[in-house]
């Protein structure tokens, strides 16, 4: 049985300094064992400017068992599956300790974004690219951040405005942008071909 009293405290604690840490955790539904965490991409990395959502499932034994976490936002990183969002991080496995919290785990994931460990990969393709052709890796990672992790309403509104100005119906622009993950150029291509 999950220690919900502790989870409740953790949520309060974490959302107190949300402006400083850039990390938030919220329940997915009424059930406190399914949560959504949000982290910001570290400055000076290809993930900068992105907001990444992380699916959190608390197993029955929490906090004696680690929380199950995976990226809900697509991300290009050697230790994160580009397909499933699965994360390769020791503290989410055998190095878990009940003195860690959901917030410290999210902080570790944020640190992982800054410091990939390509020698212990989750996604072999990404890791190979990271080791052999760093520039292409960085470009792809940046492109994925741009496409999938930037959904800030200001940015979207700006893109909608631009594309609508070209003469496309606003509703169509919105659905098309959403379909391509927010990438303006892809949306334009699709609108032109559609």
């Amino acid at each position: 049985m999950v220690d919900f009293s502790r989870v409740q405290k953790e949520l309060q604690e974490c959302n107190k300094d949300i402006n400083v840490s850039g990390i938030s955790v919220n329940p997915k539904s009424d059930n406190l064992s399914n949560l959504i965490g949000t982290i910001t991409g570290p400055v000076g990395t290809p993930y900068e400017g992105g907001t990444f959502k992380i699916d959190i499932d608390l197993p029955g034994g929490y906090p004696f068992e680690p929380p199950k976490m995976k990226f809900a936002t697509k991300v290009w990183h050697p230790n994160i599956s580009s397909q499933s969002g699965a994360i390769c991080l020791d503290i989410l496995k055998d190095q878990w300790s009940p003195a860690l919290t959901i917030k410290t785990a999210l902080l570790s994931i944020q640190a992982l974004l800054s410091a990939p460990a390509p020698d212990d990969p989750q996604d072999a393709v990404v890791a190979q690219q990271y080791l052999k052709d760093y520039q292409t890796f960085a470009n792809t990672a940046r492109y994925w951040t741009e496409s999938f992790a930037k959904t800030s309403s200001a940015g979207v509104e700006e893109k909608v405005g631009k594309l609508a100005e070209m003469g496309f119906p606003e509703a169509l622009v919105r659905t098309t942008l959403e379909a391509v993950g927010g990438d303006e150029n892809l949306a334009l291509e699709k609108l032109l071909s559609g």
Binding site: E65, P98, A99
Partner: protein, 155 residues
């Protein structure tokens, strides 16, 4: 035939003899024994398929099977009790209103220590509620805060 779950972490196996640990990379080990001697042991994956590199792990799995038998014999003969060993690795004290720990937060349940509670202190001097730390030590013999490792002693 005995069955147990073990955890594979890189090249090392850690048995989860005591209580099921976190569900990472778990394999199943099957073995048979005769009068305390391991006869057949093999490692299979979660879905009961033989591992591709099972051959290479055979020696390790046989060794682990021997340890399991040894541990079981110690337990059945009353030589070793995990609960007792854990009990002995913790210093138990009852807090009174004046104790300095009162008001600190237990890192496991995140509740404050109150003036009348029983706390367990490990050799590294980190304190938790007695119930909280006992529950953790059943799973893993490390201090949650500093990761100090504890070896349990036989009585």
């Amino acid at each position: 035939m005995a069955r147990l779950w073990i955890c594979k972490y890189f090249e090392n196996f850690e048995s989860v003899l005591f209580v099921n640990g976190p569900p990472y990379d778990t394999l199943q080990m099957e073995f048979t024994s005769n009068n305390g001697v391991v006869t057949v042991s093999r490692l299979v994956s979660r879905d009961k398929e033989l591992l591709e590199d099972e051959e290479g792990y055979r020696e390790q799995s046989t060794l682990l099977a021997r340890l399991v038998l040894w541990y079981e014999s110690l337990c059945t003969n009353g030589i070793f009790s995990l609960a007792k060993a854990i009990e002995q690795s913790i210093k138990i004290s009852r807090l009174s209103k004046e104790k300095e720990e009162v008001g600190d937060i237990c890192a496991i349940c995140h509740e404050e220590f109150r003036g009348d509670e029983v706390i367990g202190t490990l050799k590294c001097k980190h304190s938790y509620h007695e119930e909280c730390i006992k529950k953790w030590l059943l799973l893993k013999r490390t201090c949650p805060i500093c990761r100090a490792v504890f070896c349990l002693r036989f009585t």
